[in-house]
């Protein structure tokens, strides 16, 4: 079967399921008795298993299957959730992720999973020896079915056993068609349709493809899981014309221990696993009462009604649409000129519709930063386990939207920074306590929009950066000279830790401290057109803040006019607009300032900054746009305000990459280009 066309879907869906699993596992760890969560995880694992088996990724399917067994045992209260078990489950999810990653980058998804499979098996057997032996065991089919030669692999056995637990019966139906049957495939189809109404067909011999191609004689056999009495099923199948006979036989589970399995098993206490950390062993958690109303886990509902679209197509769509907007502008001006009422009406309607369309198209490219953030809780968990530190991760502003292209790039730098915060920032619990801090350290991950940028901050309440040590190290390594060091500000010193070849960690740890990490982070962020700054207070913690441009995204701007030129000022940096009398302007050190609500605000004349050619003409009033960057404010003097508008941010192209105080351009309704003012560059 050609599975290539499904590969992309498979990868995307696998990632979604793995993500869901990670999230639920974290929840489970906090609430170990909750069977509903286990069910969720189980469902994801099950779907993943099915998908990977279909796609032919055996290792993936194999590992998922073992994982599923463990989850099943947890669900059935045969295993209690311990930290050691969670560790193994987590690391198997990591392995799965690595495999999916491999597949998506063109690999074959093969990976040596024997070690982890072994561990999973140990959990499974150690904890549930009484009940679980079936999944690996049934190599030989039950003796009373020799004639069909039905071989079930372990997956199928699991399905069969699970369905039995849930009160279904499994039947093997041998259906024979009349010898003179002409349209065998059609009859097979009808039989399957009947069967699928009664229950679920899990296997057929010959396989369904062969059946479709009529590659069989008169008889074919299917395995059906149903709740209906088998006589009814037989009757229904016989109603399909040209079906001659239907033989049914019940499938008995390999060792006939199904009855036992559904009964609540006693909670075993032993763990066959060597816990990685003996301190943690006491943390085994007692399971809560069994919930017997388990639903059939085999078929999760596909609730997401989404399709996947190539981002390039969205780009094309957007560019085409913008051309349309230009023509719309022309059409509008023509219709005002002609003043034809019907034409006006139509044009107005069209404008409104295309406005809606524009919103939809622009929004399609935006992705909440959550898609990157959601893998961090697991990362931090692992980190705190590895480092024996207590770390809590707080995520703020996960709904902040960023353009898809930026989202794709920002993941790795953030991972680096979080690891760095955990490794170098947060101290050991004892140290923290002795400093009067809570034993648990906090890493805050915060995203928000400001100006034309999205800011992502990674804040920890750890040790902070020791300036002197950084400086000394930088001097030792020859990154800065003695003279340079003298004139450096705190911030510049902190930034030294991102210089290549720099590492302050005394011991090089596995996680970070090789001195390559932060260097790479900085380069990556700069290649995205962003910047990174560090603020730190020794003993209190550090903040790494990343500023990213909103490439190709929509922003609200205020359009202003300076002489004959139009400029767009991002609404997010604007505090308010004001009309200021000329007399109210004061001078302070050659800088014109105004008193704005009790604060002294410097005035910047856009005319001068952008050296707009202008005619001498003195106004008695100035139109001022008050903008801010962080705490600082400035007043931009313009000629007039045009109004507020949503625009598409476009870059000026590679040729004009660094223009002072201009962050990009946008195309206005009339087809002209307006430049977007970068308020961050104007305020120092």
């Amino acid at each position: 079967m050609d599975t290539n066309q499904y590969l992309e879907i498979f990868i995307d869906e696998s990632k979604e399921h793995l993500q869901a699993m990670s999230e639920h596992l974290l929840e489970l760890e906090k609430d170990p008795g909750n069977t509903a969560i286990v069910n969720e995880i189980f469902r994801s694992a099950h779907t993943l298993k099915g998908m990977s088996a279909t796609m032919g990724y055996e290792d993936l399917a194999n590992l998922t299957h073992k994982l599923e067994n463990v989850l099943d045992a947890i669900r059935n209260q045969q295993i209690s959730v311990t930290v050691a078990i969670m560790d193994i489950v987590f690391s198997s999810v990591d392995d799965l992720e690595a495999m999916v990653e491999d597949i998506s980058s063109g690999g074959d998804g093969k990976r040596d999973v024997s070690a982890i499979v072994e561990q999973l098996l140990l959990i499974e057997q150690g904890e549930a020896a009484a009940a679980v032996e079936a999944p690996e065991a049934p190599k030989a089919p039950p003796a009373d079915f020799p004639e069909n030669n039905f071989q079930y692999d372990e997956f199928e056995w699991t399905v069969i056993e699970q369905s039995k637990e849930q009160g279904f019966t499994c039947w093997e139906l041998a259906v024979s068609l009349r010898a003179d049957c002409v349209l065998k495939a059609a009859r097979v189809f009808m039989v399957f349709e009947v069967l699928e109404k009664c229950g679920e067909v899990i296997k057929s011999i010959p396989s369904s493809e062969q059946l479709e191609e009529e590659k069989f004689d008169e008889i074919f056999t299917v395995t059906l899981i149903t709740k209906e009495p088998i006589e009814d099923v037989q009757e229904k199948v016989k109603k399909v014309s040209e079906v001659e006979q239907v033989h049914a036989k019940e499938i008995v589970a390999a060792k006939g221990e199904t009855g036992e399995k559904s009964a609540p098993a006693p909670v075993p206490a032993v763990s066959a696993i060597q816990p990685a950390d003996s301190k943690e062993e006491g943390k085994a958690i007692q399971p809560v009462k069994a919930e017997q109303n388990e639903k059939k886990a085999a078929k999760p509902s596909a609730s997401n009604k989404t399709i996947r679209v190539n981002i390039e197509r969205l780009d094309i769509l957007m560019n085409l649409f913008e051309e349309l907007v230009i023509d719309r502008g022309r059409l509008e001006s023509i219709s005002t000129e002609l003043n034809h009422s019907e034409l006006n009406e139509t044009v107005e309607r069209m404008s409104r519709i295309s406005g809606d369309l524009q919103n939809i198209i622009l929004n399609m490219r935006m992705v909440p930063v959550e898609t990157v953030f959601n893998r961090f809780p697991k990362l931090v968990r692992q980190l705190s386990r590895d480092l024996n530190k207590q770390i809590n991760l707080e995520i703020i502003g996960a709904e902040t939207e960023l353009d898809r292209t930026v989202i794709d790039e920002i993941g790795d730098p953030l991972v680096h920074l979080i690891r760095n915060a955990g490794d170098h920032g947060i101290e050991m619990p004892e140290v923290r306590l002795s400093k009067g801090k809570p034993a648990e350290g906090t890493i805050k991950l915060k995203a928000y929009h400001s100006g034309n940028h999205v800011f992502i901050e990674i804040e920890d309440d750890g040790a902070g950066i020791n300036k002197d040590r950084v400086l000394q190290k930088a001097l030792d390594k020859g990154i800065v000279t003695e003279e340079q060091a003298l004139g450096m500000t705190d911030r510049q010193i902190f930034e030294l830790i991102m210089a290549s070849g720099f590492s302050t960690a005394e011991v090089i740890s596995d996680l970070s401290g090789r001195g390559v990490g932060l260097d790479v982070v900085k380069t990556t962020i700069e290649s995205l057109g962003g910047s990174i700054t560090i603020d730190s207070q020794e003993g209190a913690g550090s903040i790494f803040s990343i500023q990213l441009p909103l490439t190709l995204s929509i922003i609200s701007v205020m359009l202003v006019e300076v002489e004959k030129e139009k400029y767009a000022i991002p609404l997010s940096s604007i505090i308010e607009t004001a009309i200021v009398k000329k007399e109210d302007i004061m001078n302070a050190h050659n800088q014109q300032v105004i008193d704005f609500r009790g604060k002294v605000v410097p005035l910047l004349f856009l005319e001068d900054i952008f050296s707009v050619p202008h005619e001498e003409e003195d106004d008695r009033f100035y139109s001022v746009v008050l903008v801010r960057k962080g705490e600082k404010m400035a007043g931009l003097v313009v000629d007039s305000f045009i109004g507020q508008q949503e625009v598409v941010l476009k870059s000026l192209g590679n040729y004009l990459s660094n223009v002072f105080a201009i962050s990009g351009a946008t195309i206005l309704g009339d087809g002209q280009v307006a430049l977007i003012v970068d308020c961050n560059a104007l305020i120092k």
């Binding site: 476009k650 192209g653 040729y655 004009l656 201009i662 002209q672 280009v673 430049l675």
Partner: protein, 145 residues
Amino acid sequence: MSEIHASETVKVIAFQLIDKEYALPVHQVYSIEKLMHITRVPGTVPFVKGVINLRGVVTPIIDLRSRFGLSDEQYDDSTRIIIAALDDIEVGLIVDGANDVLDIPLEAIEPQPEVVGSLGDEYITGVAKLDRRLLIMLSLQKIFK
């Protein structure tokens, strides 16, 4: 580009600047546009006239006259913008007029003689002589610098 393949030709776009004809290989030219509204970009070198909206893409515009240090003149009806691209840089070049598309035999292209007009030789890859016409072959790389 060597003289060995004497029979080969190169397709070029020929355009006018004051009284001279220049040429760019056709594969470097995306399109030729009529003059449209140019938005000035402050703080750039003088020969960058600004940016235009080229079907939804903001494209920088270089005035070739001022790039080459030639005399300024008002744009008129025959003024054209040649959209040229090199690697991932796309730029519009303002010229006095785009004349035609020509096939120039490679053998007709000669290295630049010692003195050709007032144009600094760093922009020029060669000179092609066709009948009575003299075409100056330009290097985009140098113009973009």
